[in-house]
């Protein structure tokens, strides 16, 4: 038989970690440890915004809201590869801020906005105004069309679902149908009707997301981002979203695993530490394996972002999708086993395992669950 030669594409194993990324990872980890202890996370569970405004202010002060924004708009002009270690650290501490929403909003503006539009909105995001993206009409991350409408009089009609951090957002970038094309349009909070934002009751109580009704909002022509063909941009943004969510999930998986290991090293039954039982210890190694693989995938994707200076190509798409699918699976297993391995304690609201199993359910759906990505990887990997 004529077996195919190994693909010798050297990009498939690109993985670097720059000094910059290292410094950012270190400071992000310590920042998140300081500002988001598990007690703080719990205190915020039933707050409306889900985060501490003072923490957000510090984060803005650190320059993170502008980290992947060009200098001319007040940012530090680094790439998504430097956002990854920040988000990973946030996931590790279950810190929920509107950071991902703001990052994605800035990326849409960079790709779809005119210079004027960028000049107008980006500095506001860099300075810490909360921005978010309103992409979905329903629960389907695979959808590329929208029934949301902007009519010829420039009045919006329709609602958007799963608008993250809508409760605190000042700026919304809305995917809407305008003169036959899907377009992005900017809406500010003061344009919304009273009661337009209806918070979803999320399974992950650290996160915030809402249904937002934009019906009746009238916008100016300048608020419509100039890019007329948005399908590629939308694809890019969803992939960046998938990567960032993956990085966050990787962080959460590792703290979830630590929680388990700690319990397995303290709880005794039958006169022995339960961690000595292979029925518990071997699944922990499985989780570790999944975690390590996902983390490699995430930093591989980050590396490709750096190498291609943010340009999305086939390899990067593969990397983002693999990162998300791997990270989903790692966190799902970790959250699930964390509950089981705590016994009766694991079934309580008080046990921190609940925070992780809930995060896992939320996180897997954000920007697509594993099967969603595998389905899209098939044509990319199998030369169908």
């Amino acid at each position: 038989m004529n077996f195919g030669q190994q693909a010798r594409n050297h990009k498939v194993d690109s993985l670097n970690f720059s000094e910059e990324q290292k410094m950012i990872l270190e400071s992000a980890r310590s920042f998140c440890e300081d500002t988001s202890s598990i007690e703080q996370v719990r205190e915020l569970l039933d707050s409306s915004r889900g985060y501490e405004e003072s923490v957000w202010a510090q984060l803005v002060e650190l320059g993170w809201t502008g980290i992947a924004v060009p200098e001319r708009f007040g940012g530090s002009e680094l790439g998504i590869e430097t956002v990854v270690p920040i988000v990973e650290s946030m996931g590790r501490s279950l810190s929920a801020t509107p950071f991902i929403s703001c990052t994605l909003s800035a990326q849409i503006l960079l790709q779809a906005g005119s210079t004027d539009q960028q000049q107008r909105w980006l500095p506001r995001i860099v300075e810490g105004q909360i921005a978010t993206v309103a992409l979905l009409d329903n629960e389907d991350w695979g959808a590329f069309s929208t029934t949301q409408e902007l009519n010829d009089e420039l009045v919006l009609k329709g609602e958007k679902w799963f608008v993250d951090d809508a409760v605190s957002a000042e700026l919304f970038i809305v995917l809407t149908q305008y003169q036959g094309n899907a377009r992005f349009v900017m809406v500010t909070r003061n344009q919304l009707e009273e009661g337009a934002v209806q918070a979803h009751a999320l399974i992950d109580e650290t996160k915030r997301s809402a249904r937002v009704d934009f019906t009746g909002v009238s916008v100016s022509a300048e608020a419509i981002l100039v890019a007329e063909d948005t399908s590629e941009i939308l694809n890019d943004i969803k992939l960046i979203g998938a990567l960032l969510t993956a990085a966050e999930a990787v962080g959460a998986t590792s703290s979830c695993l630590n929680l388990m290991v700690e319990y397995l090293n303290t709880r005794k039954q039958f006169g022995k530490l339960i961690g000595s039982y292979q029925a518990l210890k071997h699944p922990c190694v499985d989780i570790l394996t999944k975690l390590e693989g996902a983390r490699s995938q995430v930093y591989h994707a980050a590396t490709l972002f750096e190498e291609g200076q943010g340009k999305m190509d086939r390899d990067l798409e593969v990397a983002c999708r693999m990162a998300k699918a791997s990270a989903n699976d790692a966190l799902l297993m970790a959250g699930d086993r964390a509950v089981q391995f705590h016994g009766g304690m694991g079934f309580t609201y008080e046990c921190d395992a609940q925070l992780y199993i809930r995060r896992a359910q939320w996180s897997q759906q954000q920007f697509g669950e594993s099967a969603h990505h595998r389905k899209r990887l098939a044509p990319l990997l199998l030369s169908l």
Binding site: M1, F3, D13, N16, L257, V261, C284, S296, A371, K375
Partner: protein, 400 residues
Amino acid sequence: MNTDADTLTAFRQEVIAWLADNIPEDPGFLLPLTFMEVGTEEQLEFLIAWQRKVYDAGYLGMAWPEAYGGRGMPQVYQDIVDEELMNHKAPIIFNTIGLGWAGPLILQLGTEAEKQKYIKGILTGDDIWCQGFSEPDHGSDLGNAQTRAVRDGDDYVINGSKIWTTHGTYAKYMILLARTNPEAQSKYAGLSFFLSPMDVPGISTSPIRKITGEYGFAQTFFDDARIPANCLMGNEGDGWKLAMQTLQYERSVDGGQASTYKITSMTSADLIETCRTIQRDGKPLLDDPIVQDQLVQFIMEERNLLLNQKRSSIQDLCTDYPLSLMLSGKLEATELFRRMRQYAVSLQGAKGGLYIHDNDALDGGIWQHAYFNNFSATIGGGTSQVQTNIIAEHALGLPK
């Protein structure tokens, strides 16, 4: 020695050109995919000749010192050769126990005399090596090995038995773990390590038939076998330490091998080809979305291996569980390949029930054969279960 990108690219081209001219033609008999599968004289002769050819071309032991027969070059040269051997699916470099385990161990911890005596023969393939660690009653619990070595004048007298000895029937030397002091404080402290000749009276081997139906490994018997006292490596009582270091090489936790090309991989690319070949309902199996999904999962795992390897050299990305990537490579790779091969057999319909001797077997039954043989890697060198224990205890810090 130059390691800039252009020099290395040129070197890679040179290797590729050499391989194009020198990879032997199909000998007309089944070639072993791994060093553990060598089972016939014709395979053995073929592989000795091939190793010699690679060595003479300067492509083996490139990073070993010149004084002992190596080439004294940076490791990256050997890595390039190994990569290209793999990419070209060249026959394996089979003397692995010498090239990959005993050789690096001797270079790291051996005396000058030991280096002079053993290293060159390992590289040329003149001296085939085997490993005498496992015993019939002590496998995973290697520290309990009971084969006895008793000092008598200028000799040690060996009694007992080793088993699963790969290359045992061909080998000139054995790395042997034996008990010199049964009364030592711990079971580990009583063990010693020998670089033992195989051709002395009292040592005999008996081939064992494998799951595949072929021969390949052996049981080794020691019946008052006398070996010179200077075969002891290090001091009495150093056996466990040296055996553990050997396993570091065997499990690829440590580098320094003369070549790491000991296995022709059956990769996801091969699996995809197979799915393209097999027809179901008039269409290639590759069109089936369920098959596609499984293939994608395999490819992702395969890529994890590659990426983990890259990441393991970036310390700042390994601070959480510093030992984890190093310790888990063997487990992950061997288990992934086992599952891929098992899956490949499952796709063959009724032909999945045919074996290598059947002319109608798909691709000569290569997947069936490779699936069976894969267990040599999930059992040998520490079983997957034992590897999992090691990772749990050493990387995660879980209790014994």
